[in-house]
């Protein structure tokens, strides 16, 4: 199968339209970042607390809100997330004024106190909170399997294995809805089950994750992320400078790169996506990918320039783009397939990561042709025209503004 058999599209003919479109996208992105919603920082960068919990039944968000109000935590956001049948809720608490308050602890305590009348009997096991040691120790103390008289069983090990079974069940099933769920745990004797039913209760929620980032760490990570992005752009600049030893090529690649990054960040802001560490990872990958794509076209341009035949640069670049077109589309397509799989199947964390890459690959592929290659053409055009103007030296040799260049360009065509 071949999709692009020796195409001969005059890509660069539309370069000014494309540059206009690029500016439009950048403007939309900047608008989204600075005017509309602003860049939504996740707690990695903004600091604050984010807690994900799972309930046995569909939780009443208003009630949760009331319960959390009593904890005096300032602004809290509560939303459902994930598959609806999982009854998962994400609680976000803004950065506290003083460093060091253990907010995730306070939120969990407030939830327990509000949802569990009396806060739960400390003498009983909380099926949804307590860890393996608690199960093992309490079971060993009560010894429902009457291991004391049996020489073949070592009690601590016996009950540790049972505790393991219970906790694997909890991890697998997600939550204990009631003590009756204990019947579903494999490898547990009736005696143990009955003892547990009498001496445990299902706590109101299971903690899925808790993240708490203080203001210092948040500021630190913001700085580090910015440095990482800037330095990898500088790294690319140096690489291209060494590899191609040509200013227009280098400028073209780096402008394309900044273009891709800017538009991707802008579109993420437009879609209201949260900006966190994983998104920065995707952005850095994208920086590599964007240059990668550009370099393939550039490599071909240089190879084609080496032939002795005299040919206009624009036509050489056009030819090179056409020659690499099927590779460009195919590689972007393959990477895109992977990203789509991650987007739809990868779960919450990877969703925004995949979206970042999807946008980035689309923009990056386009920019290799319409930004990186177009800049080289425009640069060389301007240079040759300036030379022509400088030689007569009649007029002051100011570089022609792009608008003038555009007019001349279309006139010549």
């Amino acid at each position: 199968m071949e999709l692009f058999r020796q195409t001969n599209i005059d890509f660069l003919r539309y370069k000014w339209i494309a540059i206009g479109a690029s500016w439009l996208l950048i403007a939309i992105g900047l608008f989204a970042i600075f005017v509309q919603k602003g860049l939504k920082f996740g707690i990695d960068f903004a600091g604050g607390t984010q807690i994900a919990v799972r309930f046995a039944e569909r939780p009443d968000l208003d009630r949760l809100r009331d319960v959390l109000k009593s904890a005096n935590l300032g602004d809290t956001g509560i939303q459902r997330y994930g598959e609806p049948e999982r009854n998962q809720v994400l609680i976000r608490v803004q950065q506290q004024k003083t460093e060091g308050r253990d907010v995730s602890h306070d939120v969990q305590n407030a939830l327990r106190a509000g949802l569990l009348p009396g806060g739960g009997d400390p003498a009983k096991i909380d099926l949804n909170r307590d860890g393996k040691d608690v199960f093992a120790a309490r079971l060993a103390a009560a010894d429902p399997d009457a291991t004391a008289g049996r020489p073949d069983v070592v009690a601590p090990q016996h009950y540790a294995t049972i505790a393991d079974q219970i906790l694997s069940y909890r991890a697998e099933a997600g939550i204990f809805g009631s003590t009756a769920d204990l019947d579903k745990v494999p490898g547990v004797s009736v005696a143990v089950r009955n003892w547990l039913k009498a001496n445990s209760y299902p706590g109101p929620f299971v903690l899925l994750s808790a993240e708490n980032v203080g203001p210092q760490v948040g500021a630190d990570l913001r700085k580090k992320a910015l440095y990482a992005v800037v330095w990898s752009i500088v790294g690319m600049l140096i690489y291209i400078a060494i590899r191609f030893r040509s200013l227009p090529f280098g400028v073209g690649a780096v402008v394309a790169l900044i273009h891709d990054t800017l538009i991707t960040v802008g579109l993420l802001a437009l879609f209201g996506r949260e900006f966190n560490l994983v998104v920065v990872a995707a952005l850095l990958t994208l920086i590599g990918y964007s240059v990668n794509d550009t370099v393939v076209v550039y490599d071909r341009v240089r190879e084609n320039q080496r032939t002795p035949k005299k040919e206009a640069l624009e036509s050489v670049i056009n030819r090179s783009i056409n020659q690499t077109l099927s590779r460009t589309i195919l590689t972007a397509g393959a990477t895109m397939l992977v990203c789509l799989a991650l987007f739809f199947l990868g779960g919450e964390v990877l969703n925004t990561f995949a979206l970042t890459l999807i946008i980035g690959i689309l923009i990056g592929t386009y920019s290799s042709i319409y930004v990186a290659a177009a800049i080289v053409v425009i640069w060389k055009d301007l240079r040759s025209r300036r030379k022509l103007q400088v030689v007569p030296a009649a007029k002051p040799a100011a570089p022609p503004p792009p608008a003038a260049a555009k007019k001349k360009k279309s006139g010549r065509r």
Partner: protein, 536 residues
């Protein structure tokens, strides 16, 4: 088969077998550590454990703590002031009241009766870490910078040691406890199923003091001070009682400032069950502590002794008789609380308070869920790519798929051998590598097609295709690897895992896409003298 081809096949075989063997060996060694059953763990278990899982997949807790070193400095300041006062008393130097204007300075007022020469002598002798200056009828003692830094440094080192002791006693597999920068500590504990308890365990200062009660308990502070003319006497202090569930009012105790014994005098501590029901912690004193304790309890029979934990009175039993080397802390403890308190008392007190700067906890069920979703997405993505490549390049596409599969296997092996950690973004990196590695094959195949269109013979087309695409392949790999290196530099935990996976995957893909693919082509077409057409 030519000799060169045979060598190539042998090399590929060697590398792949090496990687697979490495993976399995690492898997066995990891599985054995956790294996509680008899004999060696089964292969299935070993295959699961080849690569270390990150906290985000395995579940666990990641903490960055700050040591409030100022606590240690203040404690040193209080000690120094105390010592100066004691010396003054012993040598009969009259001095005015002591004040604490700053965290690392204190002032001593001088009166006309003060023998300043003797005071100076005593300060030089007993407070070598302090600079003394005079200002406005006061002596100002300031902690020397170097001494302060030593105190802070020791506090952090001691905190790391204490936390390590506690974690070790609690029993966590593969904990990471490391100092970060000047005053931070990084704690990573995989596989924790009860994060709250571990956090409490780490943060508990566990500073135990036993002091003689001079008044109270009462909820009325002024009543406490009435016998002393409404002022806290110089050698006493007021301590709050611990808040107990069900109790309505906050109570206060007036106690002697200097402790009879502190946590440092402990030899051992263990949880006990009281006869009346309820849990307690028994402690046992070392020889020096026992001597002090026996003297104090012997002289104060009938009085109350306050057991103070982290500046709050836990209980205040009456001394019935002289006690030598043991005591009991009671309160409303659950069995786990009693157990944990005994643990932290054994492991020692923290020299300073801790602040949580960063916490990331992932519960086991979320980790499990992430693994499932990550794998589903990866397998689906890979299948998509495989189908697309085979549809597009036919037999040559199959060649590429083979190379990609080898790439995946070798990547797993390399990650195991480098002891790299697989994280959720790492899984994404793994599959992204497959998407990007296919790029090399595409570059080569497109070149071959071009060569064929230009009328070259199939064999020449293959060789030209590979050699012409090579420079570009190196270029494309280098660009992504450069940005992945910056990512590694910047990244924390999960993101670092992503960078490592990406870098390894891309390095391997140079080998598989160029060397392995070319070899497969040679296997397919090399023997035949004449090829009419390539399936590409």
């Amino acid at each position: 088969m030519s000799k060169r081809l045979r060598w190539r096949l042998f090399l590929i075989f060697l590398v792949v077998v090496g990687m697979v063997a490495g993976y399995v060996a690492m898997g066995y060694s990891n599985a054995r550590r956790e294996w509680i059953g008899p004999g060696k763990p089964p292969l299935r278990e070993a295959l699961k454990k080849g690569i270390k899982l990150g906290l985000d997949l395995r579940g666990g807790i990641h903490l960055v703590l700050q040591v409030n070193t100022i606590d240690a400095v203040k404690a040193e300041r209080d000690d120094a002031a105390e010592q100066l006062q004691t010396q003054a008393r012993e040598q009969g130097i009259t001095i005015g009241p002591v004040e604490f204007p700053g965290d690392h300075s204190f002032t001593v007022a001088v009166t006309p009766q003060t023998d300043e020469r003797k005071l100076d002598e005593s300060a030089k002798r007993f407070l070598p870490d302090w600079n003394a200056t005079t200002a406005g009828g006061k002596w100002v003692f300031t902690l020397k910078d170097l001494s302060r830094r030593t105190i802070e440094d020791n506090a952090v080192a001691q905190a790391v040691e204490t936390i390590r002791n506690r974690i070790d006693e609690f029993g966590v597999a593969e904990p990471l406890i490391a100092r970060q920068g000047t005053d931070r500590i990084l704690v990573q504990l995989p596989g924790i199923d009860d994060p709250k308890r571990v956090k409490d365990l780490i943060k508990n200062t566990a500073f135990l003091e036993l002091k003689l009660v001079q008044g109270g308990p009462t909820s009325d502070r002024t009543a406490l001070l009435a016998p002393h003319g409404g002022q806290v006497p110089a050698n006493m202090e007021i301590v709050e009682g611990a808040v107990v569930a069900g109790q309505r009012e906050q109570v206060y105790y007036l106690v002697l400032k200097s402790a009879v014994i502190t946590g440092r005098d402990l030899k051992n501590a263990r949880p006990t069950q009281r006869q009346l029901g309820g849990n307690a912690v028994s402690f046992f004193l070392n020889a020096a502590g026992a001597e002090k304790f026996a003297a104090a309890t012997g002289a104060n029979v009938g009085k109350q002794l306050a057991i103070i934990l982290d500046k709050r009175v836990k209980s205040s039993p009456t001394i019935n008789e002289q006690i030598h080397d043991q005591g009991e802390i009671t309160g409303s403890f659950t069995p786990e609380e009693a157990n944990d308190l005994a643990l932290v008392l054994r492991a020692g007190a923290l020299p300073a308070g801790l602040t949580y700067l960063e916490e990331r906890t992932v519960g086991p069920s979320l980790g499990l869920d992430s693994i499932k979703k990550g794998i589903t997405a990866s397998v689906t993505g890979a299948l998509f790519v495989f189908v697309a490549v085979v549809l597009y390049y036919r037999l040559s596409g199959l060649n590429a798929v083979l190379a990609l599969i080898l790439n995946a296997i070798m990547l797993l092996g390399a990650m195991a051998l480098f002891n790299a950690t697989l994280t959720l973004p790492g899984i994404a990196g793994f599959i992204l590598t497959i998407g990007m590695a296919v790029d090399s094959n595409v570059l080569i195949f497109e070149r071959i097609r071009e060569e064929l269109r230009a009328g070259r013979a199939p064999k020449t087309a293959i060789d030209n295709g590979f050699s012409k695409a090579f420079a570009t392949i190196i270029d494309t790999h280098l660009t992504v690897i450069i940005s992945a290196i910056f990512l590694f530099q910047f990244g924390t935990g999960p993101v670092k895992g992503f960078a490592v996976t990406l870098i390894l995957g891309l390095l391997i893909s140079v080998f598989t896409a160029v060397f392995v693919s070319h070899t497969i082509f040679e296997l397919m077409y090399g023997r035949r003298q004449h090829i009419d057409a390539l399936s590409i």
